[in-house]
């Protein structure tokens, strides 16, 4: 159920995002989903890739600060109120979302979103109990 996300520290400097994406491309790593959180001085690039271990190695070898985190990918009904329905389940069960972002591609006619929780196991349990589809690792790689 859990998917490995790569997060990367980026200084707010011209060309930094390109450097990282270029490096991953060169190593034949495909980015499936991506988001950037930013402060005044720096950003955190978070992404789901087809091979997180190879990605981490490539980044570290280039002296880029990166780490892996566990997240989940969830199917969201592609209709008004689709996301709200999932968030309601989480809220009713007292589960806090750290952050979330969308996938570039779809697996079916449903949208795919990445969720990061403090308590990932509890979140998975609650979502499954409420019939929300949480993607398996293989599903994501196949995208």
């Amino acid at each position: 159920m859990k998917i490995t996300q790569i997060s990367v520290f980026l200084e707010n400097k011209k060309g930094r995002l390109y450097d990282v994406c270029h490096l991953l491309g060169k190593n034949n790593i495909n980015i499936k989903a991506l988001t950037i959180a930013e402060s005044d001085d720096f950003g955190i690039l978070r992404m789901v890739v087809n091979d997180p271990d190879a990605a981490l190695k490539a980044l570290k070898d280039s002296d880029i600060v990166a780490k892996q985190t566990e997240i989940i990918a969830v199917e969201v009904d592609d209709r008004p109120g689709g996301l709200a329905g999932i968030l309601k389940v989480l809220e009713d069960n007292g589960i806090n979302v750290e952050y979330m972002y969308g996938f570039v591609e779809k697996q079916s006619d449903k949208a795919l979103m990445v969720f990061r929780f403090d308590n990932i196991d509890e979140a998975i349990k609650v979502l499954m109990k409420n019939n929300v589809k949480v993607l398996a690792k293989n599903d994501v790689v196949k995208l």
Binding site: F9, E38, D41, F42, I44, V65
Partner: protein, 433 residues
């Protein structure tokens, strides 16, 4: 007006005799009362009887900042601490702060030299003075205060900060003299603009600015915009605080009150006296202090000195504005900042490595700003923004409590701080002084 004309304009030969007499007395006094100096003398084989004139001063050992720290708190004193009238403490590095103390006589001396300084800047008895240097352990506020009291000025002890109130009081109470750091004088211009005050119409006619290095262009700006005379005052707490040297209205060097603070300029590498007019490290001997008299104290300030008589009539030597420091200490808003302090703070925050760079900048009309770039290591990196920002905040808070000024912390990528020969360049001073 010259506060003590007899001394300040004394013929050089007489001044030299006075200095010689005072040095002899000083040397026997510290030899008798301070074990650290006695040991220094005994080790070099010098006895007080070897010192007959002021020229013999070069036989004496130097005193350095480390002597103060190593003998913290009272080891360098020549008087039991219970006999002191006042104690001041200046910002320390990672180790101990520097403690200085004044006997009643020393406070009288401080009052006198500061009165000379105020007078030298052009203050007159019955003038009002706004003292916007910090009062407290910092010597700036109280030193000015004692001198103003001695001179018979009317004191408005606003201390530092609360700029709008400073400006309101200036408008309402009409002080003629302002004492503060030069960067604060510039900083106040912004608040004045907000308050719709025309600075050119301020009541201030004379400014006594010091406690940090400043340039002639800063002086020009202060003088033009506030329409006042901006003079430079020099001092350091180890010697007495403010009141070691002061510019007169001719602004042609700072008059050192050399009958009580004997200046020498040395090559900081060799310790030898440099020729007149050559830049070197300023070394001062406190000829008459009783609480904590110091022999040949190395200020680490780089200046040049001239013995030529000034147009104002004062005969004492004049030093240039500070041209630099012999060590890597930086002075920001009047506060001494050592790279080692910053290193210490970084190490105290879990997981942070001391790979850092200090950037000091002064934007036009603003106070100095410090930014600390800290390289992010894997240990502290998180995918959560709030955790990284929390680290920045924790370092900032810790730095502020140690340095007493705000320093912005910026996380940067590893190895982004330039290293020369494996050693990172710690300080980037962008201020054009």
């Amino acid at each position: 007006m010259i506060w003590e004309e007899k001394i300040e304009c004394m013929p050089l030969a007489d001044l030299k005799n006075l200095q010689s007499e005072r040095l002899k007395e000083l040397v026997s006094y510290v030899y008798k009362n301070n074990p650290v100096y006695k040991k220094k003398f005994d080790m070099t084989g010098i006895t007080p009887s070897d010192i007959r004139t002021i020229d013999d001063i070069s036989k004496l050992p130097f005193t350095v900042k480390d002597d103060m720290r190593d003998n913290y708190p009272f080891g360098m004193f020549s008087m039991p601490s219970e006999d002191l009238a006042e104690i001041h403490v200046s910002s320390g590095t990672t180790g101990n702060p520097t403690v200085v103390g004044y006997s009643k006589e020393d406070l009288k001396l401080w009052s006198t030299v500061m009165a000379r300084a105020l007078c030298c800047a052009g203050a007159l008895p019955k003038d009002k003075i706004q003292i916007a240097y910090g009062y407290g352990l910092f010597t700036g506020g109280l030193g000015m205060h004692y001198g103003a009291l001695e001179m018979g000025l009317t004191i408005i002890p606003t201390s530092s900060g609360q700029t709008k109130r400073q400006l309101k009081l200036m408008q309402d109470l009409r002080p003629r003299v302002l004492a503060c750091t030069p960067s604060y004088a510039l900083y106040m211009l912004e608040d004045a603009a907000e308050m719709k005050i025309d600075p050119a119409k301020s009541s201030w006619e004379i400014g006594i600015f010091g406690a940090e290095p400043w340039s002639d262009s800063m002086r020009n700006e202060i003088e033009d915009r506030w329409s006042m005379l901006a003079t430079d005052v020099y001092g350091l707490s180890e010697i007495i605080g403010p009141g070691v040297a002061q510019e007169c209205a001719h602004k042609n060097g700072l008059h050192v009150f050399s009958d009580v603070f004997y200046p020498e300029i040395i090559d900081p590498e060799t310790g030898k006296i440099v020729p007149e007019g050559t830049a070197g490290e300023l070394v001062i001997t406190t000829l008459t202090k009783k609480g904590i008299p110091l022999l040949r104290y190395r200020t680490r300030d780089i200046v040049s000195m001239t013995n030529k008589k000034c147009i104002c009539g004062r005969t004492s030597p004049r030093i240039s504005k500070i041209k630099g420091r012999t060590d890597d200490m930086i002075i920001v808003r009047g506060i001494n900042v050592f790279p080692s302090q910053i290193e210490h703070v970084l190490l105290s925050v879990e997981g942070v490595q001391p790979h850092y760079q200090i950037i000091v900048d002064r934007k036009a009309g603003r106070l100095d700003e410090i930014e600390i770039h800290v390289e992010v290591e894997e240990k502290i990196f998180s995918d959560e923004m709030k955790k990284l920002q929390d680290i920045e905040r924790r370092i900032q808070k810790e730095l502020e409590s140690i340095l007493s000024i705000f320093a912005k912390v910026k996380l940067v990528e590893p190895r982004s701080i330039p290293r020369s020969e494996g050693k990172a360049k710690r300080i980037v001073d962008k201020r054009s002084l």
